[in-house]
């Protein structure tokens, strides 16, 4: 890519728009400032392509506009009568082929590099949900960490009730944290419909396909916070499931892992015990708000026909085991996705208790984490 990079650098002077892009400021005219080798290659390749296309464009339309200006009838131009020339036709077929070969060569190298996900230092699985991302650290330092990452921009900002923050729509509650300079392999899948995990500064965009696992990789060279969006239309809140990655030093990363481990240990101890009704309701309301309310709505009325109401629902008022099964495993061919992977036993128990004792539902029944655990083991 030496040549491409050099041409890219020299055209920054030719394209004032690109030059105007201040270091660190959000991109406005061009691809975002790359922080991985792959993104860098893509950036340079794009600049090279742009230059080649501009040169051809100016050449071809220079000729056309010359004719438009000089070969006008109003200027007394008399039409020539030539209309065939095999040599010319062959030339403008063969020369473009050669130019294309020149373009294909660097692109081929980058495609092969992008596909090489071997020898990763860290493997993270990202799962797309309607409409949030779940992350599992599968291998490497931090193995076993799980987090659920959803939009943290307050609703009032979106609806115009409050001033919009600096990272409007690009901020989440639990960002992904990765160490700088390490090769991170991303495994992508989804729970409901197709999503796409995209961080422009890394040059990674990989669809997350329900029922299949695909992969991609990045090695971030610079510490910082990098933001992206879900790139595949995935339903109502497609615009509201951003990705936020914190690239930190090795020490900070180790500290983050330790802190996370501690919290997880506390949570596990908490799971096993018997919960009071009040505790379940409080926790349940919170889980319902972040996970369920997007579809079933805070008032439990849903958005029929796609998202049925829970208020007065046969399932919610029926047998506990049946409802536990649906929350854990989802309902095939409907929008109801399985949440067994994303939620802990206590979360599931709490949210089910909440739905059975809210709005017009008054079963008075509490569901304990142990019952959820039993429901998991059944299938």
């Amino acid at each position: 890519m030496g040549l491409a990079a050099r041409i890219a650098a020299s055209t920054l002077l030719l394209v004032p728009a690109a030059a105007a892009q201040a270091q660190g400021a959000p991109a406005r005219y061009n691809l975002q400032t790359p922080v991985t080798g792959l993104a860098e290659q893509i950036h340079d390749m794009h600049t090279l392509m742009l230059v080649i296309c501009l040169v051809i464009f100016v050449g071809v339309f220079g000729v056309m506009f010359w004719a438009v200006i000089h070969h006008r009838r109003s200027r007394g131009a008399v039409a020539a009568n030539f209309h065939e020339n095999t040599t010319v036709e062959i030339a403008w077929t063969v020369i473009p082929v050669l130019i294309l070969l020149g373009m294909a060569w660097p692109a081929t190298k980058t495609v092969i590099a992008m596909k090489d996900t071997s020898e990763a230092d860290l493997t993270i699985k990202a799962t797309g949900y309607q409409w949030k991302w779940g992350y599992d650290y599968l291998q490497g330092e931090g193995e076993g960490i799980r987090l659920l990452s959803s939009l943290s921009t307050p609703r009032e900002q979106i609806e115009g009730g409050a001033a919009k923050g600096e990272n409007y729509l690009l901020e989440v509650d639990n960002p992904v944290v990765v160490p700088v300079g390490k090769k991170v392999r991303m495994l992508l899948t989804a729970n409901d419909v197709i999503h796409s995990w995209w961080v422009p500064a890394f040059g990674v965009k990989q669809d997350a396909i329900p029922g299949f696992i695909r992969d991609g990789w990045f090695r971030a060279d610079k510490e910082g916070v990098y933001r992206g969006n879900c790139a595949e239309l995935c339903g109502r809140d497609h615009a509201f499931m951003p990705i936020e990655v914190h690239v930190v030093s090795a020490e900070k990363y180790a500290a983050w892992v330790a802190e996370h481990r501690e919290k997880a240990a506390g949570a596990a101890a908490d799971e096993a015990r018997e919960w009071s009704m009040a505790e379940l309701m409080t926790r349940g309301e919170q889980v319902f708000g972040t996970i369920c309310a997007a579809c079933h709505q805070a008032n439990g009325k849903g958005l029929p026909p796609t998202f049925p109401p829970l208020d007065g629902s046969q399932v919610v008022l029926g047998d506990k085991a049946g409802q536990i099964d649906i929350v854990l495993h989802g309902r095939p061919n409907t929008a109801m996705a399985p949440f067994g992977g994303a939620l802990s036993d206590a979360d599931v128990a709490a949210v089910i208790t909440y739905t059975r004792n809210s709005w017009g539902n008054h079963t008075g029944e509490a569901v304990q984490p142990a019952e959820v655990k039993a429901g998991r083991n059944k299938s």
Binding site: A27, L31, Q32, L38, A39, Q41, I42, M45, H46, M49, C53, I56, F57, V60, F61, V63, M64, V68, H71, R72, R73, A77, A79, N81, H83, E84, N85, E89, W92, V97, L100, M103, A104, A107, V111, K115, Q157, E159, G160, K164, D192, V193, P200, K205, D207, P210, F212, R214, C230, L233, C234, G235, R236, H238, A239, P304, P305, T306, P332, N333
Partner: protein
């Protein structure tokens, strides 16, 4: 030439039914062409209203005009309406009017099927637009209707599926009619390689339609059975694969983009020589280039799917094959420029539109080449860059060529010259506002704005505001065209049989307006 014998029924009914019945029962290619053109313009305006609602919501960050569910319905329906309701029927309208006139045939080969092809469209349009009013609203899965999102949709999705079935049927019948007309009904002496280029491009387009419309029908039928009849074509839990939908859809979808652009190439290839007063440069190579584009269009579909995660070999193959399409497309542009070179040019509205087409369409061609490079595509896939790219080829490409053709043949259709002044105003307003709308979208996409979102991060604010202003300007400019057509149909300067001095072809040998029946005696082509 048995097929040229006029249908005896035609003589009985000659001028008999009037009013609504005339239009319901007509088998006359000119009547049917007119109906296609009016239908497509109505759909163009309704798709345009959807686009303007989308742009109004995107004028500023935050949600102001519509909610996300409805926003997704609008983007989906805008795409479906413009592709299947506006652009495709408009080209069929041109084919109906012009192909018999250009090859010296008395009518289309299957005149009654022609009536049926058209009359299928209004019910399909009612199903499609009516789906906004069913519970859950219209489908919001994007015009590509990707599974499993489309499986999740409400009843509006079923309406869209049936509408697509009906429109597909109409397209296939229209295409068969065009193929048979061109192959069997050419006037004596008109060899294939003497045919006007518009007929050539439509002949090839018709083959594409026959090949891929059934594929689309199959894809949406599989969605229908996944939704209601317990199949799992696209559901991994049942052994299916969501990505298979994309393969099937784009096997239709890529040829579809050529279905919408090849007839445009044909129109432009008629107009450029007429106003350069010089024969088309490289007629034979234009025919071969069109055929190569059509053949290549079947083997490049997965360039829409680089982000799904194909193996490296797959990505490389689809990248190389796609890049290759730039070659025949380039040949066409070079030929048009060579036709203009050392001509005696004048810029009446048809020529203005055709020249504008070459200039702006080529920008879309270049961004297409950039999108073909797999690693770059992975960055810009599903962003506003792609939105900019395909509007450069579909609006500045197909639509501009349709306007060029309309200004070129309106004298023949109405017997009056369209207003030169208004036609030029329409062109310049459209060209400027088109670029104000879509050029900034390249920047938005590069900087990282995904498509199909009702709300966006703050760094995208000013270009979105600019695009919205441009879109409203562009939308309003189209009312000028409406005014031109209405004025021209009502009266105006009478048009000669051949109103453009450099124009060539059989259509200019009949009077203007073209009589109800033409070429009942086949002309002789030397």
């Amino acid at each position: 030439m048995a097929a040229v014998i006029p249908d005896p029924l035609d003589h009985h009914h000659h001028h008999a039914p009037s009013g609504l019945m005339r239009w319901l029962t007509t088998t006359n290619h000119k009547d049917i062409g007119t109906m296609y053109l009016i239908f497509s313009f109505v759909m163009f305006l309704s798709g345009g209203v959807m686009a303007l609602t989308i742009r109004a919501e995107l004028f500023q960050p935050g949600l102001q005009v519509v909610q996300p569910e409805f926003f997704n319905q609008l983007t989906t329906m805008h795409g479906l309406v413009m592709v299947f309701g506006a652009i495709m029927p408009a080209f069929v309208g041109f084919a109906n009017w012009q192909i018999p006139l250009m090859i010296g045939a008395s009518d289309m080969a299957f005149a009654r099927m022609n009536n049926w092809s058209f009359w299928l469209l209004p019910p399909a349009a009612i199903l499609l637009l009516g789906s906004f009013f069913v519970p859950g609203g219209a489908t919001a899965a994007g015009w590509t209707l990707y599974a499993p999102l489309s499986v999740q949709m409400g009843m509006g999705m079923d309406f869209a599926i049936f509408a697509i079935h009906i429109m597909g049927l109409s397209s296939i019948m229209g295409a068969i009619n065009i193929v048979v007309t061109i192959l069997n009904m050419r006037a004596p002496g008109m060899a294939m390689m003497k045919m006007p280029l518009f007929c050539w491009t439509w002949l090839i387009t018709a083959y594409l339609l026959i090949a891929v419309m059934p594929v689309l029908a199959g894809a949406v039928t599989m969605i229908l059975t996944d939704r209601h009849f317990g199949t799992s074509f696209f559901n991994a839990a049942g052994g299916g694969d969501p990505v298979m939908y994309q393969h099937i859809f784009w096997f239709f979808g890529h040829p579809e983009v050529y279905i919408m652009i090849l007839p445009a190439f044909g129109i432009v290839s008629q107009i450029i020589p007429a106003f350069a007063r010089k024969p088309l440069f490289g007629y034979a190579s234009m025919v071969y280039a069109t055929a190569s584009i059509a053949i290549l269009s079947f083997v490049v579909w997965a360039h829409h799917m680089f982000a799904t995660g194909m193996p490296a070999v797959g990505q490389l193959y689809f990248m190389y094959a796609t890049m290759l399409i730039a070659v025949p497309t380039g040949v066409k542009v070079f030929n048009w420029v060579a036709t203009m070179w050392r001509g005696s040019l004048s810029f009446e509205p048809p020529m203005l539109w055709a020249t504008g087409f070459i200039f702006v369409f080529t920008i879309g061609g270049f961004t297409g080449l950039i999108c073909a490079i797999a690693p770059i595509d992975i960055q810009i896939h599903d962003t506003y860059y792609v939105v900019a790219h395909f509007h450069y080829v579909l609006v500045a490409g197909s639509l501009f060529a349709l306007f060029a053709g309309a200004y070129y043949w309106l004298p023949k259709w109405t017997g009056h010259m369209p207003s030169d002044r208004l036609g030029k105003l329409h062109f310049w307003c459209s060209l400027v506002f088109f670029n104000v709308t879509f050029f900034p979208m390249h920047f938005l996409g590069l900087a990282g704005m995904p498509r199909r979102i009702p709300d966006y991060a703050l760094q995208f604010t000013d270009f979105n505001a600019l695009a919205t202003i441009g879109a409203f300007g562009f939308g309003l400019s189209q009312l000028i065209f409406l005014a031109v057509v209405v004025k021209c149909a009502r009266g105006g300067k009478p048009a000669a049989a051949k109103p453009w001095d450099g124009a060539e072809g059989l259509e200019w040998t009949v009077p203007s307006p073209a009589p109800y029946h033409t070429f009942e005696e086949a002309p002789l082509v030397k």
